[in-house]
């Protein structure tokens, strides 16, 4: 009631103000200068004024007498007040890189499904180590997600259990995950045990309790949130104009009294049952009838009239008001549904606020200004809506769609702090393909990645210096390369020097140490150009074909551009993915036995993919190209590009004797099928995308004099 009254007062005050404005407006126009004061501006003083800092004091002073500058740094290290400098031991991360240790699970210890998902996400990531001696970060085997004492998931005696951990060390370099803290009536953010110097990855964290650049705000996610992969965002079209049926919607519980109830209690003031539909229900808890107020019955009836899903999918904006706690499930739901979240949760440190620029994907409102929200969102320009909406989808898929992504993002943020000057820039986090695919150790220069050319304002990769590199040589190649690298992956010794063809560019021969398939994708230092042309030893391509493919790659540097293509399909009888090398009208992979791609993908292949997949490829000596296609499509969400080739690759392949065995082997095909399914399960989804087109030279096979054509050889057989 009180809240209602308050809003009424507020509302009437607003009306008064508007009235005043109208009344006052013409009056003030009549008298532009108020009273006797024609110059209300800051005066121009003629006095010579002194500088705020004397010339000889621009640098201070008695500083040198201090004992050591290092002493100052430790002045503020209290237990709860933590920063990386004072509470984190960087030396543990030095030699082994950023490794995360998970305490082994103990018998009889109950762990919720959500926490199990968190732990297994860490364990299957490239950061995991089973050796605490190698670890830089420690994660508990005790479920700390739900610290609401009234919850059935609540773990008792955590305090003692944690104190008994042998590596606890007052929480130093520990990371604690938490979704719920506190309970009715005050919902404090205390976890019920001493966190010491441990970092918190916590949902619903408030700016007051948040230790900047130390804690991490994570989103609240439900126990059904998928472990890996995750559903894509719901946005399928960018309709123009971008407005949907509703402007603003909300559907959720109302608490009537107590903490966090004010905002939801006031929503009905803004609800108009047309395009602003804000619905609350009092029906929750056992004895809601006892507490219900005069609005409840009416609100409940209205609440039942609308379907939440329908509203979510048909609204431009979705209100995300705080509940008892600051964060709510509405946030992720809205994000996935491409319904631009309108945050009404004062003091909530937004999820991953350290790295995500939320202004690009959400409207950040103020609970105190609830009544202004409709006019605010209506004033947002349609171009902005279009971009906010797309950004919700990018962020959802990059950081939120699965538990694994939430966990990896958390770990990468901490890793960035450890990397310090090597950390990702804001751009890397907030632009496609997102921070998890943009590894900052590769380079601090954005132009070294295939993704940011347009952001930097230079067009696609520079023309001149980008001469590709061959990984496996052919005799006929070619003056357009800057360097040719031969990877000798054979047990036979290297041919004598005089037997190598004479070339005008350096030929570097690398004898693979382990002679495994994955070494074709190692990021060799000798590769200095952005473009890599990967070739098998038996590939036959003409210079024209290579030339043309290279011009295409320059336009699409983030994709694989190659010649022979393959396709995948869903085999619904066998309920698994199928692989086909038949001639088809579409394709989703191009073979890396002859393909251009950006050098960054070598790095990504080697660093991002887990050991399990790479060693599977090495053992089979097969599927490395499929894996590369999976990876690149997971990054770009786009198909590779097939370009024209003179002859059919397949025929020449079979004709060759040297390694024909690899392709003739009947197991070969079955292996590739199996690879596809293994890869899809690790990615949690099928990243491959089909394309129905091939890129040909503009005059390809046109009936016009061959002399007019730049790429003549492609047509000659």
């Amino acid at each position: 009631m009180q809240a209602k009254k308050r809003y009424l007062i507020l509302f009437s005050a607003g009306v008064c103000l508007i009235l005043l404005f109208y009344l006052q407006g013409p009056a003030s126009r009549r008298t532009p200068n108020r009273g006797d004061d024609p110059h209300p501006h800051w005066p121009h003083f003629s006095d010579p004024l002194r500088a705020f800092i004397p010339w000889d004091q621009t640098e201070t002073e008695d500083y040198n007498v201090r004992v050591s500058p290092r002493h100052k740094r430790d002045d503020n290290s209290g237990a709860y007040k933590c920063r990386m400098d004072s509470c984190f031991d960087f030396s543990l991360c030095g030699s082994n890189g950023f490794k995360v240790y998970v305490y082994p699970q103990q018998k009889g210890e109950k762990i919720s499904e959500s926490y199990r998902n968190i732990l297994s996400s860490i364990e299957s990531s490239r950061f995991y180590t089973s050796d605490p001696g190698q670890a830089c970060l420690f994660v508990l085997n005790l479920d700390t997600l739900d610290r609401d004492q009234l919850s059935p998931q609540y773990v008792h005696n955590l305090k003692t259990k944690i104190q008994n951990l042998n590596l606890w060390n007052n929480g130093r370099n520990h990371l604690i995950f938490n979704l719920y803290s506190g309970t009715w009536p005050d919902y404090t953010e205390d976890l019920g045990f001493e966190i010491g110097q441990a970092m918190l990855a916590k949902a619903s964290i408030s700016t007051e309790n948040f230790r900047p650049d130390f804690d991490i705000s994570i989103p609240l996610f439900s126990k059904d949130h998928p472990r890996t992969g995750g559903d894509r965002g719901y946005l399928k079209y960018n309709t123009i104009p971008p407005f949907r049926k509703y402007v603003l919607v909300f559907k959720g519980k109302r608490y009537l009294t107590g903490i966090g109830s004010d905002t939801r209690n006031a929503l009905h003031h803004v609800h108009n049952a047309e395009d602003v539909v804000l619905l609350t229900t009092c029906k929750h808890g056992k004895d809601w009838q006892k507490h219900k107020d005069a609005r409840c019955d009416k609100d409940n009836a209205e609440y039942d009239r609308y379907d939440y899903k329908e509203m979510l999918h048909n609204s431009t904006f979705c209100l995300v008001p705080r509940g008892r706690r600051l964060g709510s499930f509405r946030f992720l739901e809205a994000l996935q549904a491409a319904c631009v979240p309108v945050m009404l949760s004062n003091g909530w440190e937004l999820p991953f606020s350290e790295i995500i620029d939320w202004h690009t994907a959400a409207v950040i409102g103020d609970e105190r200004l609830l009544l202004q929200i409709p006019s605010t969102v209506r004033s947002i320009h349609q171009d902005r809506i279009l971009s906010l909406r797309q950004q919700t989808q990018f962020l959802w898929e990059a950081y939120f769609s699965s538990v694994e992504k939430i966990v990896l993002t958390t770990l990468e943020i901490i890793q960035d702090r450890v990397l310090q000057h090597n950390a990702r820039s804001t751009l890397m986090w907030n632009r496609l393909p997102g921070g998890l695919f943009t590894l900052p150790q590769f380079s601090s220069y954005l132009g070294d990645f295939p993704f940011f050319y347009s952001v930097l304002g230079n067009s696609n990769p520079e023309k001149k210096p980008h001469l590709p590199i061959a990984l496996v040589i052919l005799k006929t190649l070619i003056s357009l390369f800057r360097c040719i690298i031969v990877l000798w992956n054979c047990d036979k010794p290297l041919p004598a020097k005089h037997r190598w063809p004479a070339t005008s560019v350096p030929v570097i021969v690398i004898e693979g140490e382990s002679k495994v398939m994955s070494s074709r994708f190692l990021p060799y230092d000798n590769i200095r150009t952005d473009a890599v042309l990967s070739l098998d030893e038996d590939t036959v391509l003409s210079t024209t074909e290579v030339d043309f493919a290279f011009t295409v790659w320059q336009i699409f540097p983030e994709r694989i551009v190659g010649y022979p293509a393959r396709s995948h399909f869903w085999d619904s009888n066998k309920e698994r993915w199928g692989y086909t090398s038949k001639w088809t009208n579409d394709y989703s992979m191009v073979l890396t036995g002859a393909a251009f791609y950006h050098r960054y993908y070598n790095y990504l292949y080697t660093q991002y993919l887990p050991g399990s997949l790479k060693s599977m490829v090495d053992q089979l000596s097969n599927c490395e190209d499929i894996l590369m296609n999976f990876l690149v499509s997971a990054v770009t969400k786009m198909p590779p590009i097939k370009v024209t080739q003179k002859k059919q690759y397949k025929e020449t392949m079979m004709g060759q004797t040297s390694r024909a065995s690899r392709w003739a082997d009947p197991d070969h095909f079955a292996q590739r099928q199996m690879c596809m399914n293994k890869f899809a399960s690790w990615f949690g989804t099928m990243p491959l995308v089909h394309s129905q087109m091939r890129l040909d030279p503009v005059l390809f096979k046109d009936q016009v004099s061959i002399l007019r054509k730049k790429y003549r050889d492609i047509e000659r057989l």
Binding site: G35, T207, I364, T426, V455, L699
Partner: protein, 678 residues
């Protein structure tokens, strides 16, 4: 006059401050017992300590800032509270605010209040009395919505990192915050203004390698750190230049402008321009005026000041302009900096200079940036973007940010809407309609009837088609009508098609749609055209047919996103739209410019088609007609390039064909066997 807010506190005398001397400002005596504000509350945030209702809803989304008139505060015995009084810099700052759009002289409308009490340098203040003076301000109200500017906080021996003057809930724009004192999202970290900014003109230098790799120019470096720097110098020799005070020069301005190394004298800050990296080490305070000098010189700052909150870090991406290294890693500085790619160093040099120009170079810039940051917090939905804050003008000009940036391949099912522009060629129009209606993904047909003198034929005469067909009559015969974002277009994909394009096969059109789905942010068309630079004439030239390259596609038949209709109609730069309507030509070139300019991408030409043969056209005057046509089209390109201020078109050498096009493979197994001819 009736005022909603009580407005009796200010006496009218205070309003008439058109004085020329600071000494004429009213003298205010502070009683000993005058109340002292509380120390700043560390938990303050905008939603707890800032009264947002004062800022109100405002169509311009701009906060109003009030500046208290100047007063001279003295204690009971007449001693001023500050040894400096109003400093030159603070005066500049207040003047700038007063001249800006933020300023209001109406205290009752103000959202933010700025005291005229100068607290830039804590050293010149009497702490207690200054605090009392603040509390005496008529609107102080526990410091709510008050903003203080301080650049040199703390004092010996501890040098606290925030102003020590108790200030209740006032916001602090401070130079030298540490992460322990900075209230994120409430306070604003500002630079320490360097007096040299106004004194010295350092022309901008092209990014690139410099004579020295690392330069240290600070004079008050702690001896422990100096020892470490000297050790680095020993290891790396010439690459490092380690400067210090000149011992033989007399004190004063001259000595500030000189630095020495082993008796050799260097001009400061000019010498900063000779180095790629410049060290900015913490001194007694975290914030250093040197940072400003270094940025001005376009030298990349190497900031070593643990827990320092970098200036304007709420909006500036310092990773792009500086290298932050923990003090502990000072000995590794050389190795760390060497690992940074050259091109990144150049980016950072450019960025550093831009930060200085935009946010550091004057008290005005510092003040305006601070107010803009607060403004962005109060009107977050109208806040400046990351790009606006961080991209230097050259990048803002050249970078593109496609409005359809999400990699989406829309589902096939909604299909496309064909928009047929027609005047009076009924027979040909009906043939076009009949042909297009065979395309499987056609969702709707819109006929834009551009003839105001003649009505379209009766409904019964139109060909029977399976999809909805709607005729839209226009008010004027304009070419731009074909690109109008009609509400009737309910699909994303639009096929613009002329009423004489009857030669395209159903396969060809369906394939075009499939390719558009893979490139929804591009124009996807059939015959391609090219622009070329004519060296002899010194201007652009239009080229058609038989080229190996493509930079435009004709919109006589082309797929594109409906968003571009909206852009064409409402956002076309300059007078291009009217010009096209007046000349009845080149609407397609204009569309190609528009799309390439906003996306930075080339169109996609599909299938071998080289021209739209129009059977009705007779060959009379064909050649000369052709030539005038070419001249006109070339003129369009030159006109548009000058309006756009750049040549946005991108040239490519590929076209898209079906995967199995011309492959030796049974035609009946191909998805698009009938892909048409030239």
């Amino acid at each position: 006059m009736f005022q909603f807010w009580p407005h009796s506190i200010e006496s009218s005398a205070e309003w008439s401050l058109d004085r020329r001397s600071v000494h004429d400002a009213p003298l205010v005596r502070i009683p000993m017992s005058s109340p002292i504000p509380e120390r700043g509350d560390l938990s303050c945030r905008m939603h707890t300590c800032f009264d947002v209702y004062r800022c109100g809803y405002n169509p311009k989304n701009k906060i109003k800032v009030y500046i208290y008139p100047l007063q001279r505060f003295v204690d009971e015995v007449g001693v001023p509270i500050s040894s400096t009084g109003l400093s030159r810099e603070y005066n500049d700052l207040l003047s700038a605010i007063s001249d800006s759009d933020f300023y209001t002289d109406d205290v009752s409308r103000a959202c933010l209040f700025i005291p005229s009490i100068d607290v830039l340098n804590q050293n010149s203040l009497r702490i207690r009395e200054t605090a009392q003076a603040l509390a005496m301000l008529p609107r102080w109200d526990k410091g709510m919505n008050h903003l203080l500017f301080n650049m040199l906080p703390g004092g010996p021996p501890d040098y606290n990192t925030a102003l020590d003057v108790p200030r209740d809930r006032a916001l602090l724009a401070g130079g030298g915050f540490s992460t322990w004192t900075y209230r994120q999202g409430y306070d604003i970290s500002i630079p320490v203004y360097s007096p040299l900014s106004a004194e010295v003109d350092l022309p901008e230098r092209q990014p690139g390698p410099r004579r020295y790799f690392i330069l240290s120019s600070q004079t008050a470096i702690h001896r422990e750190y100096r020892v470490e720097l000297e050790r680095l110098k020993e290891e790396n020799g010439e690459a490092l230049l380690l400067l210090d005070k000149c011992s033989n020069l007399s004190q004063g301005l001259a000595s500030v402008r000189k630095r020495c190394y082993k008796g050799q004298v260097y001009d400061y800050p000019q010498i900063l321009q000779e180095s790629s990296f410049c060290v900015v080490l913490r001194g007694a305070r975290l914030g250093q005026a040197t940072l400003s000098d270094v940025l001005q010189a376009g030298c990349v700052p190497v900031i070593m000041a643990d827990s320092y909150i970098l200036p304007f870090s709420e909006v500036l991406d310092w990773k792009r302009a500086s290298v932050v290294i923990p003090e502990e890693k000072l000995p590794e500085m050389y190795t760390i900096l060497k690992s940074i790619p050259h091109r990144q160093v150049e980016e950072m040099q450019r960025q550093a200079r831009w930060f200085w120009e935009a946010y550091f170079s004057s008290m005005k810039d510092i003040g305006m940036t601070t107010l803009q940051i607060i403004n962005d917090r109060i009107y977050p939905y109208a806040a400046r973007t990351y790009e606006e804050w961080n991209n230097p003008p050259v990048v803002k000009w050249t970078s593109v940010n496609s409005p359809l940036f999400l990699p989406l391949i829309p589902p096939r099912s909604p299909g496309f809407t064909a928009v047929v522009l027609t005047y009076d060629r009924i027979e040909s129009l009906f043939r076009v309609i009949t042909e297009i209606s065979k395309v499987p993904s056609l969702a709707k047909l819109l006929v834009v009837w551009n003839n105001q003198n003649k009505s379209p034929p009766e409904e019964s005469l139109w060909p029977k088609v399976a999809v909805p067909l709607k005729v839209l009559r226009t008010k004027e015969n304009k070419l731009s009508n074909r690109f109008f974002p009609f509400d009737e277009i309910e699909t994303e994909a639009v096929l613009a098609i002329d009423d004489d394009i009857i030669m395209l096969t159903s396969d060809e059109l369906q394939f075009g749609y499939e390719v558009w789905r893979e490139f929804p942010d591009r124009l996807v068309g059939y015959p391609g055209r090219l622009h070329l630079w004519d060296h002899e004439m010194g201007k652009w030239k239009y080229e058609s047919e038989w080229t190996n390259e493509v930079s435009m596609v004709l919109t006589g038949a082309a797929f594109y996103h409906k968003y571009f209709n909206y852009l064409y109609t409402y956002k076309m730069p300059g007078d291009i739209k009217n010009w096209v309507d007046a000349h009845m030509n080149c609407e397609d070139i204009a569309m190609n410019f528009l799309v390439a300019n906003i996306t930075g991408k080339a169109p996609i030409k599909v299938t071998p088609r080289k021209k739209f043969k129009c059977p009705e056209c007779t060959a009379i005057d064909g050649l000369s007609l052709d030539q005038t046509h070419m001249v006109e089209r070339s003129e369009c390109i030159n006109k548009f390039a000058s309006v756009f201020g750049t040549m946005p078109l991108k040239v490519v050498e590929h076209r898209a064909d079906p995967v199995l096009y011309k492959d030796d493979f049974p035609e009946k197994l191909k998805s698009f066997p009938n892909i048409g001819s030239l």
